[in-house]
Amino acid sequence: MEEIKDVVLNYVIEEYLEEDDEEITYDTPLISGGIVDSFSMVSLKRFLENKYSISIPDEKATPEAFDSVNKIVTLVREFAG
């Protein structure tokens, strides 16, 4: 799962960070930390679904479940079976 962690982290850095020298970790709050807003969360969800060939139900795609790279990995793991 280490690989998923890094894939998600790199994607977040590349797509959502506004300042190029901002640093984030696996536990940095993404939604509650204002890095990814609730509208942008849809594109992050879509990325995960495409990348890991999974389908995340809307009721599971909550701001809490997407609030850090580690939490996202847990979510992906749940649906990747």
Binding site: G34, I35, D37, F39, V42, S43, F47, T62
Partner: protein, 568 residues
């Protein structure tokens, strides 16, 4: 007892001079919102009262008294004046909800310049069209948003000053950039307030329409009169309240009721500058003893989604009045809030152009869940026939919401676009562009927009703007954008595209296009779904027929297709 008291009596005896008297304003006097929201409160002996409790990421907290905001706004105003900013110049505020945003708002107004607040999540293209239209002279921003400004600077010959409020010396400043730190600046205790009058321009908010570029809605300092009184009577703010308006000042609610309304009354407000999380919001209410809470249906529905059990983990007993704005508040949300908070969210209706609340459910009034409520005293509002623009004589008929112009916060024009402004009036009525019905008790019931503008999470998105941006993507040949129903945001953006030769319709490309729009325009404008088409439905003259695609999304009858060139 609520501030408004008996609604019917207020209607009978109403005159805007009620607000003028309470604000010690007489016609012809100097009227400056920046002064009213800070200096005047201090002169009333409330300088030591907290004006702003602020909390940001990582639990970072700040607190400002009314005297603090008076001095800070003086300091910002003086800094701008030293740069050469003068009355009538447009100064854009492009910041997250940090204290400098609120304090700069007052500082810009104090020197007679015009505030142009813009949502900080806007991408470079959205920023560009708005700064270009306003010929903005200065922008106040943060390091994290600098890259977007730098990208478009060469396209904006009027933009002389880029003021960075959190410069940390790590990287050199570039062309036109200057650092300003409120903490390090010499406090300016006395600032000469520019003698703005009632009709002096104050705030320039941008709003989206169906066609053309976004329009700058020009407001004047006299808007204070109705913003003050609606805050007092609708939001029912009282001396000891702690008020929380969850709207971002990049949008009109965040300035009319997130700055001007509460501070002109000398009320303490709290601001949370973090992303949304139900738990964080409840914790914030508990921590700051929020008593009056003004939010939006999208947020309320997101809280509903987080469940009732979460609410029970917090002591929210400080809440005494809840109000909502941005899109229609569904009956379920009203009933849910009554169940979990023991008080219902009361819906209110207004828009950027009206500047202040027009229709609402007042404290103490009988609530009909799902209704927008009744007109504010002093407002003449009705529903007119969409063809004749005459008011319906029978209740219950669906038509266009219409107001008689003349209330204080009414926009004065669209910036550099008087023609578009005039088109908003028919037979002496101002038409906000929404459809509704009016029942026999005088309650309005919202039906929907009368145009193609998409209301997503309470924010208006122009399909034209998104379609134009889509065409700039290398793979897109044609595009059409419509609203798609959504349980939380009411509507979201959906795009239909045809691709250029050589591009394959697949999920990867869909995500690339979504992210392209998110960065170029804003996360709100990003299509949450993209459907690939072989051809788009068009009229014989080649105009794309959005209404067919809209009808498809909403499961409606397609209607007359006789002018179609080709169907799907």
């Amino acid at each position: 007892m609520s501030n408004i008291g008996a609604y019917n009596e207020r209607i009978r005896e109403f005159d805007w001079s009620i607000a003028e008297k309470e604000l010690d304003y007489s016609e012809g006097n100097i009227l400056n919102i920046g002064w009213y929201c800070s200096d005047r409160i201090c002169l009333q002996g409330k300088g030591d009262r907290v004006a702003l409790f602020w909390e940001g990421f990582g639990g970072n907290e700040k607190q400002f008294t009314f005297n603090d905001i008076r001095v800070a706004s003086n300091t910002i105003g003086a800094f701008l004046r030293n740069l050469g900013i003068k009355e009538g110049d447009r100064v854009c505020l492009f910041m997250d909800r940090i204290p400098e945003l609120y304090l700069s708002f007052l500082g810009v107004l104090k020197i007679g310049a015009i505030v142009q607040p813009l949502f900080s999540a806007f991408g470079d293209e959205s920023l560009h069209v708005r700064l270009e239209n306003a010929q903005t002279r200065a922008i106040i921003t943060q390091r994290k948003h600098l890259s977007k400004v730098r990208k478009i600077l060469d396209l904006l010959p009027w933009l002389e000053h880029i003021i960075v409020v959190d410069y940390d010396n790590r990287k050199p400043l570039q062309k036109n950039e200057v650092a300003f730190s409120l903490e390090d600046a010499e406090p300016v205790d006395q600032c000469e307030i520019f003698p703005t009058k009632s009709e002096s321009p104050s705030v320039l908010h941008y709003t989206s329409g169906t066609t053309g570029q976004p329009k700058g809605v020009k407001h004047v300092h006299y808007s204070l009169i109705s913003q003050y009184l609606t805050t007092k009577w609708v939001l029912d703010l009282m001396e000891d309240d702690i008020y929380w308006c969850t709207a971002d000042p990049g949008w009109v609610t965040g300035t009319s009721y997130g700055i001007i309304g509460p501070w002109s009354m000398g009320i303490t407000q709290a601001v949370l500058d973090t992303g949304f999380s139900a738990e964080a919001w409840y914790r914030f209410i508990e921590k700051y003893n929020i008593s009056v809470w003004y939010s939006a249906p999208t947020a309320i529905r997101s809280l509903m989604k987080a469940g009732d059990d979460l609410v029970k983990r917090f002591d929210l007993s400080s809440l005494r009045h809840l109000a909502s704005v941005g899109e229609p508040l569904n009956a379920e949300a009203v009933l849910w809030s009554e169940k979990v908070f023991n008080i219902p969210f009361l819906d209110s209706y207004w828009q950027t152009e009206t500047g202040s609340i027009m229709i609402t459910n007042f404290p103490g009034m009988k609530i009909k869940p799902g209704s927008m409520g009744k007109v504010f005293p002093g407002i003449t509002g009705t529903v007119v026939d969409p063809k004749t623009f005459e008011p319906f004589t029978e209740p219950g008929k669906v038509g266009l919401i219409a107001f008689k112009p003349g209330w204080p916060a009414m926009m004065r024009t669209y910036w550099n676009n008087d023609e578009m402004f005039r088109k908003k009036f028919k037979k002496g009525w101002y038409l906000p562009g929404d459809r509704a019905s009016l029942d026999s008790d005088g309650y309005f019931w919202f039906i929907g927009r009368d145009d193609d503008v998409i209301n997503t999470g309470g924010h208006l998105v122009s399909p034209f703007e998104v379609e134009s941006a889509l065409l700039e993507h290398e793979a897109v040949s044609e595009s059409a954008v419509v609203a798609k129903p959504d349980n939380v945001n009411m509507e979201v953006v959906k795009a239909f595209v045809t691709l250029k030769p050589g591009y394959e319709p697949n999920n990867e490309l869909e995500l690339k296009i979504m992210n392209f729009i998110r960065k170029k325009l804003s996360p709100l404008a990003m299509p949450q779904e993209i459907e690939y088409m072989e051809t788009l439905p068009k009229t014989r003259s080649g105009k794309i027929m959005r209404r067919i695609l809209h009808a498809k999304e909403w499961g409606e009858e397609i209607g007359d297709t006789s002018t179609l060139e080709e169907d799907e």
